[in-house]
Amino acid sequence: MKYKTRDFGEIDIKDSDILTFAQPLFGFEDYRRFALIYNHEIGESLVWLQSLDDPDLCFILFDPTPLSSFFKPELPHWIEDVLGKGDYICWVLCAIPDDIRKTTVNLKSPIFINPNTRKVAQIMLDQNYPIRFPLIKEDI
């Protein structure tokens, strides 16, 4: 089915690619259906999380693997109840201001996706990670 997106015009998204927030993004409780949009020029370290209910609502997610020396999210024991059994893919939300050197990511409350059930949750970790962690250390 075709969906309008904020940054890529109208694109085709298969039903099997639709993600449903079982536990919504904080402050966005009315928005449940999203899809990940990859841009081939950009690769897979950053991805668009596009709302399928509101074309203007879109987030940029970052794959936190490069931060794994210190960022080791511990999943709450109840995550299976929310997302179903299986493996979970972790993303973090980016806030990209006009000056992109000031880009931050929210390490306190990552997004977890179960690719089997296509259920998603934003989960506030018990660990003491920052909500606004600077992604860039030097000038780019």
């Binding site: 940054d7 904080f26 940029i60 490069p66 980016c94 992109i100 929210n106 909500i131």
Partner: protein
């Protein structure tokens, strides 16, 4: 900061100017934790502060829509290839 001492079952009222209603915060239970009951008129959302900090961060993330966003994301991705 205004500091008020209250017992269980006592409450405070926050009056919103302009006749927009009042917010009542009632202490339900006191112990190592306290339980609060909050009544607010429509249009007021009540958050746990630590959740609210994430709400603010999410709103900020949702507003990351620069005219040159694609270029910005591309530059960011270069850092992590």
């Amino acid at each position: 900061m205004l500091i008020i001492t209250r017992k269980a079952d006592e409450s405070i009222i926050i009056e919103i100017e302009g006749g927009k209603g009042n917010i009542e915060i009632k202490v339900l239970e006191v112990g190592s934790q306290i339980r609060l009951g909050i009544e607010a008129p429509a249009g007021y959302k009540v958050w746990r502060n630590e959740i609210y900090q994430n709400v603010l961060a999410n709103r900020q993330a949702a507003n990351s829509s620069l005219p040159n966003l694609l270029d910005a994301v591309s530059k960011l991705s270069e850092k992590f290839k």
